[in-house]
């Protein structure tokens, strides 16, 4: 009996939403830290997070202020924000619900407690300290689900689709983070580098838990182009875009069918990534490159849907 397309689709979206929830939690915590580390006049504030999550238009309709309280509430629990963390957790759970019999029971239970903890924390007011704690726990809970899957689930097609969703979402998020951050950080004129440049690049690494690994493997001081190269092209770091594409390639290889359009879309994106010249790159040009990569991600998503899911 082969796997139902609908369930494959649900698991894929579960993988995407859970990764999205985790990345959003990382972004908020890292941004809070960064703002504490920088003098007010150059601190990025909170508005970049709205842009990273692609919700700028929605946000502008609802709010005038980009102060911390407004933005964070918008990102965490605003009912008018379809991409809020609360909604994301709900989608992650609902997509898992129908496919729960394909997974170890603990995974469903963990997803359920994660969702309930979210409902609990995100419905009332949340102090900064509690917020930080909650997001930290949420990241660990997401890691726990990933770990339970890795340690207890047969690596069958159900597992493949969760991972495909996870890696594609991660690649998407990485390019978004770089897009927005690089825009703020890479000066268009080769002038004076801002004194706090390194701190900000460190925070970009930290939003992807890449700081320690960067230190160990890249062995240079933290600078823009090196960080870019690491997050886009490092072959060993599990949150780099290229690593994710490699994982996608072998996962897609395993799937049934003789239509390899999705695989071709992945290799196209890999080629594009490898050919990119990151030397001396400037803000605007980087933005264009990241936009291109996001289009490639959207194309991979489209090919996957056409090949394995219910015809839309």
């Amino acid at each position: 009996m082969s796997m139902l397309s609908r369930l494959a689709e649900n698991l894929y979206w579960h993988g995407r939403y859970l990764e999205r929830a985790e990345d959003l939690a990382r972004l908020i915590n890292v941004n809070a830290n960064l703002n504490l580390d920088l003098p007010k006049r150059i601190a990025p504030g909170w508005e970049p997070l709205v842009r990273i999550t692609g919700a700028a238009a929605t946000f502008a309709e609802l709010h005038d202020d980009t102060d911390e309280r407004t933005v964070v509430r918008f990102l965490l629990s605003d009912p008018d924000n379809p991409g809020s963390l609360r909604n994301t957790l709900e989608y992650a759970r609902e997509n898992l619900r129908s496919a729960r019999d394909l997974l170890p029971r603990e995974v469903w239970e963990q997803m359920n407690s994660l969702y309930l903890a979210g409902e609990d924390a995100l419905t009332g007011p949340l102090s900064k300290r509690r917020r930080h704690e909650f997001l930290r726990e949420l990241i660990l809970d997401c890691q726990q689900i990933a770990g339970t899957l890795l340690g207890t689930m047969s690596q069958d097609h159900a597992y493949d689709f969760i991972l495909i969703g996870r890696y594609l979402e991660r690649a998407d998020m990485t390019t978004r983070i770089l897009d927005v951050r690089a825009d703020d950080l890479l000066p268009d004129e080769l002038g004076e580098l801002p004194p706090f440049d390194a701190i900000q690049w460190m925070s970009v690494l930290k939003s992807m838990t890449g700081y320690q690994m960067y230190r160990r493997h890249v062995r240079t001081r933290v600078s823009g182009p090196d960080v870019l190269a690491f997050l886009l092209r490092d072959p060993h770091f599990p949150r780099s875009v290229l690593f994710g594409l490699g994982a996608l390639e072998s996962l897609l290889h395993d799937l049934p069918g003789d239509d390899d359009q999705a695989l071709r879309a992945v290799t196209r994106m890999e080629r594009r990534l490898n050919e990119m010249n990151l030397e001396g790159i400037k803000g605007e040009r980087l933005g264009e490159l990241m936009d291109e990569l996001q289009l490639e991600v959207a194309d991979i998503d489209r090919c996957i849907r056409q090949t394995w899911f219910l015809a839309g």
Partner: protein, 481 residues
């Protein structure tokens, strides 16, 4: 705990006799309960609640249009029936379902029972569940209702009656199975050498029943459970049965019918053919080509495929024609006509409002009777005479006169009771019983069934949608014990 004050006046009690002493089959349980320390008991109750919560045993109710998952209230004290009595009931249910299946097959084909004047043909004209689309067709083995859930009630003198037959998409069997799991976990010592008959063969028997109607008997059948989706009140059961049978749980959009009238499901490896569909979707939503065009829950072409013999559907479309309170009134005649035997289990005495004499009697006695519409389920749209206001009675009189064919009436039964945990003590609460009968190449009747219990003192409404709960049901072999 102290059970010495447990007395039931005016009703038949399932566990105790008139003197308050336990019946033979319940002696062991009674003795055990008496010896149980109250603390011990509340521990066990907590364990039960936790067990059903973690298992996620829920049903969905709609309150002001919002769906809420409710836990099914479960009562610790089982309902007990002696194996000797159950054997007779099983025989009666087999007889009844056999006759009903012959009757449905006849209605859609020769209509001999109408020609012979035993069943009035005009009843079909406004029968809500008669499907003209099924005329001239007979499904594999001539079986239409593969899964039947008949509701049994016991009256004041201890007689068991059939209150209704559910032949469309009866539900509740998952609760029956889960209730037993919980009881075994919480009271293991009661199950050691007490002669309680097991219930867990059901899912295997259901699989065999469905496999026996596969159009490709030589191959391992590809069986699916078709659910309306996770917002349906019985979704928990759909998922449970699919999982226990090891078959796929599908929604309408997972299926398609090709130009050769074959059914396939959409998988990541491409289309995979489907042999048998255990559908938990109503007729009306099954196939937009034939029934409701706006249905998103079924699959266009299912009826074509079914009539071409390429797929089996359980229960068959149109089986609901016998799931009608007015047809119910004729079941004793139907059994005699097809089986040449007297019914082994009686109907509750029933007046048909379509008949002028009987209608007059009903209209004069609305304050005494229970009036039921022909095609409602779940206890909706009923009048319970003794508990109704004059205004409600006038309203029902108006409804009956406007559409007499749609109503039957029955005496208010003195439903039997079973000891049940109330706030702080054990008190009698009214119960009914829904056994399940499977018909395919063989016939199976569950050992017991789902006992539903009204949780409010004096209430007769046992439906889970209206606040009823359930109990484990024990068929106890007293000879071997």
């Amino acid at each position: 705990m102290d059970l010495s004050n447990y007395r039931v006046e005016g009703f038949f009690d399932e566990l105790t006799g008139p003197s308050g002493r336990p019946r033979v089959a319940s002696r062991a349980l009674w003795k055990y309960l008496k010896g149980l320390h109250p603390d011990e008991l509340s521990d066990r109750r907590a364990a039960c609640e936790l067990a059903s919560l973690t298992a996620g045993i829920t049903f969905r109710v709609y309150i002001e249009d919002a769906g809420v998952d409710r836990a099914m209230p479960f009562d610790l004290i089982p309902r007990i029936i002696a194996a000797s009595e159950w054997a007779q009931i099983q025989a009666g249910l087999r007889q009844r379902v056999r006759a009903l299946n012959l009757f449905i097959d006849d209605l859609y084909n020769d209509q001999q029972i109408i020609a012979d004047g035993v069943f009035p043909g005009e009843l079909l004209e406004n029968s809500e569940n008669f499907r003209p689309e099924c005329r001239g067709f007979s499904p594999p083995l001539g079986v239409w209702a593969h899964i039947c859930g008949s509701d049994l009630v016991r009256d004041g003198d201890g007689t068991m009656y059939v209150l209704e037959d559910n032949l469309r998409i009866p539900s509740g069997v998952a609760y029956m199975l889960e209730n037993r799991q919980i009881m075994k976990r919480v009271f293991p010592e009661l199950f050691e050498d007490s002669g309680i008959q097991p219930v867990d063969e059901y899912c295997g028997q259901l699989f065999d029943t469905l496999a026996s109607i596969s159009p490709r008997p030589a191959d391992y059948p590809n069986i699916v459970v078709l659910t309306p989706g996770m917002y349906n009140s019985a979704y928990y059961e759909h998922a449970y049965l699919a999982q226990q049978m090891g078959v796929e749980l599908v929604e309408g959009r997972d299926l398609f019918v090709d130009d050769d009238d074959c059914v396939f499901m959409r998988t990541i490896s491409g289309p995979e053919s489907v042999d048998v569909i255990y559908r938990r979707v109503d007729d009306a939503f099954l196939d937009p080509e034939v029934f409701r065009e706006d249905s998103m829950l079924g699959c266009p072409g299912l009826m074509r495929a079914w009539k071409a013999g390429n797929v089996a559907i359980a229960n068959a479309p149109g089986a609901g024609v016998a799931d009608d309170k007015v047809v119910y009134a004729y079941v004793p005649e139907i059994i005699e006509y097809y089986c040449g035997e007297k019914p082994l289990i009686d109907n509750v005495p029933t007046w048909k409002c379509g008949n002028p004499h009987e209608r007059a009697h009903v209209l004069e006695n609305l304050d005494q009777l229970v009036v039921k519409p022909a095609n409602e389920s779940g206890g909706y749209g009923m009048l319970i005479g003794p508990r109704s206001t004059k205004k409600e009675q006038r309203e029902f009189a108006r409804r009956i006169k406007a559409d007499p064919r749609n109503y039957i009436a029955q005496p208010t039964l003195a439903l039997s009771t079973c000891p049940t945990f109330a706030q702080s003590n054990v008190a009698p609460r009214h119960v009914d019983l829904r056994p399940f009968i499977l018909s395919g190449a063989e016939t199976f009747v569950t050992n017991g069934g789902l006992t539903r219990v009204a949780l409010k003192a004096g209430s007769l409404v046992v439906n889970s949608s209206q606040g009823g709960g359930s109990k484990d049901t024990w068929i106890v072999d007293t000879e071997g014990a």
